[in-house]
């Protein structure tokens, strides 16, 4: 286990280093930040002073080494646009994104398991077929178009829910959150539903498949033969056996949710780090782009590792030390 963890950590470090170099060199190639930062009427001497001040006159490898040195000390450079540390900017927006992703995950699991159970218990009923067809649509529909349609129906036509922003936030342990106020919940509803759509379909299909497999197993037949109520057989015996795949898949999907939040945040003007990334790409705010990517890559590596570890705890047959890489 310890050997596995060390090897895994080394591998993550190499990935992170390679990513930082690729991203740094790649982002370096986009546009000229001086054009955006400096008043076009400035004279040549001013421009040269600014270039020197930002360190843009030094060779690329020197800039990268300086960046790495800063990164190790937790300094990923200053945003060209906001003139505050890029890392701080991202960490400020992170709670909004994490709240949205968590809300989407809760929606997916809370709706997906009952719907999947229903489709699994009555696969040939009209409701069961409808649920499965809807879940295929959920996989096929482009997220961003569903978001627009949600706005069209619930905000424009019915006027029930707001279409943009986060609403008022309430501090919870010093972190601003939306879900503690009614107005905030109303703002959260549409983006969370939009982001949840893909995972909702996934949970429905996983639950349905798991239920159908479990129903023909001996232990379920035996539980029924013992005269246990339907509620107990399904609620305890069936649900328990299908929970492992659902936990691992939704866990792995959490990183994807954070990435797809980029799209949902842009549509619903949700002030998270995904929207910050898109805005920064449009104005060529290099340090923010690089910092976002490093933060997200680190996040992904952590999520993948956590899921692997959780797997070995849930399922003793998985021996991590023997797994290649």
């Amino acid at each position: 286990m310890a050997a596995y963890l060390i090897r895994r950590a080394m591998q993550s470090l190499v990935v992170l280093l390679a990513m930082s170099a690729l991203v740094f060199v790649g982002v370096y190639a986009i546009g000229n930040p001086v054009d955006i930062l400096i008043n076009p009427n400035a004279d040549q001497a001013d421009i040269e002073r600014a270039i020197k001040g930002l360190g843009l006159d030094r060779p690329l490898w020197e800039q990268y080494l300086a960046f790495l040195q800063g990164a190790l000390a937790g300094d990923l450079g200053k945003s060209f646009v906001y003139n505050v540390p890029a890392l701080q900017l991202i960490l400020e927006r992170m709670p909004a994104t994490l709240e949205l992703a968590l809300a989407a995950m809760i929606v997916a699991v809370a709706l997906g398991i009952p719907l999947g159970l229903w489709a699994g218990l009555k696969p040939d009923s009209i409701a069961g077929r409808t649920i499965m067809t809807a879940s295929i649509l959920g996989f096929s529909l482009p997220t961003f178009w569903v978001g627009l349609m949600l706005i069209m129906v619930f905000s424009v036509d019915l006027g029930w829910l707001p279409s943009s922003g986060r609403g008022p936030t309430v501090p919870l342990l010093g972190v601003p959150v939306s879900f503690l106020s009614w107005e905030g919940l109303r703002h959260l509803a549409l983006p969370a539903l939009n982001l949840a759509l893909f995972n909702l379909s996934l949970v429905i299909r996983l639950t349905r498949a798991g239920t159908r497999e479990a129903l023909v197993q001996d232990y379920v037949k035996f539980a029924r033969a013992k005269g246990l109520s339907d509620a107990r057989v399904i609620g305890v015996h069936v649900l328990k056996s299908i929970s492992i795949p659902i936990v691992t898949v939704t866990g792995l999907q959490f990183g994807t949710l954070v990435a797809f939040a980029i799209v949902t945040e842009t549509i619903f003007a949700w002030p998270g780090m995904g929207k910050l990334l898109i805005d920064s790409i449009h104005v060529l705010d290099r340090p923010v782009i690089v910092a976002y990517l490093l933060v997200v890559v680190t996040f992904f590596i952590a999520v993948n590792l956590a899921v692997d570890l959780a797997y070995s705890v849930l399922d003793p047959r998985v021996r991590l030390a023997d797994a290649p890489g």
Partner: protein, 303 residues
């Protein structure tokens, strides 16, 4: 989802291709999907011939007709705007047909390029093994652990806009699926006797890989490629919607939808709604075909 059983006597006389066609046709939903996709493909190819106007010829546009609702008549009575017009007085039906052309073209083109690259790398990894194998597969593994949209977004942020750039980004995102798929089946095929026989005949590696291994690895590749065409079209639309994919001079469906977003809030739904419907029809039809192909070409479901 299993295909209908075919009588054994019939299976004895028909060729594999006939069997695949018959199995495919057994599912009406898949046939409907294929028909829908053929229709979309035809509409995309023939867009300049069938669309009521050339939406990008400014001389044909009339600003007086801007943002008309579906079924409205043109100001000078030339024709009916079946699906309404956008903010520049462009017929949405024509814009959608031209948009399909770009979306389908980019999706299919990128998929073919990714298929060629991924299959070549995967075959080479399986055939030669060693450091090449571990290098290719390690890169694919790492890449697949990140969502495609994130990688494509970063690439486009670096490369900028353009058809060639989005195709490059899509290829970079998708090659790994093909490399993995083909490597898996090539490793199985490589141990079979016909490959050993070819090796004993001292045929050149190139010939063994392309004439012997590749044809036998094709079925799973075709399945993955079909599904990936839909994924490529979705991804391109999403990136274009975010303003990072195609430039305004190449208006794909995603760009049309983005253009209508502003007007959606004032109740002018058609500028976003109909291009989205076209996108949806394209993706669903491809997925229906892909689903059935997976069942038909899966050797484990064969009798």
């Amino acid at each position: 989802m299993s295909a209908a059983p075919v009588p054994a006597s019939a299976a004895a006389v028909e060729t594999p291709l006939q069997r695949i066609v018959a199995d495919f046709a057994a599912n009406r939903l898949a046939l409907a999907g294929l028909a829908l996709f053929a229709l979309i493909l035809a509409a995309a190819l023939l867009a300049p011939l069938v669309s009521p106007q050339n939406p990008y010829d400014l001389a044909q546009l009339d600003v007086m007709d801007s943002r008309l609702a579906p079924l409205a008549r043109a100001a000078d009575g030339r024709f009916t705007y079946w699906l309404g017009t956008d903010d520049q007085g462009r017929d949405m039906l024509s814009a959608i047909l031209y948009g399909l052309r770009i979306s389908v073209g980019v999706g299919v083109g990128a998929t073919l390029c990714a298929l060629a690259l991924g299959a070549a790398l995967g075959l080479a990894a399986a055939f030669f093994g060693g450091w090449l194998d571990s290098l290719v597969m390690r890169v694919a593994d790492i890449q697949l652990s990140f969502p495609a949209i994130l990688i494509a977004l970063v690439l486009l942020a670096v490369l900028g806009q353009g058809v060639d750039k989005i195709v490059l980004a899509l290829v970079a995102v998708q090659w790994a699926y093909y490399a993995r798929t083909v490597r898996g089946s090539a490793l199985v095929e490589r141990r079979k006797e016909y490959v050993e026989a070819a090796l004993c005949l001292a045929l050149p590696a190139r010939r063994i890989v392309f004439r012997h291994l590749l044809p036998n690895c094709l079925p799973p590749l075709i399945v993955v490629a079909t599904v990936q065409v839909a994924a490529a079209i979705t991804l391109e639309a999403t990136l274009s919607f975010l303003g990072l994919g195609l430039p305004i001079t190449e208006p794909s469906l995603g760009l049309l939808i983005a253009n209508g977003f502003t007007y959606l809030l004032s109740g002018k739904y058609w500028i976003s709604f109909f291009p989205g419907l076209a996108l949806l029809a394209t993706i669903v039809s491809i997925n229906l075909v892909g689903d059935q192909l997976r069942d038909v070409l899966n050797p484990r479901l064969q009798r």
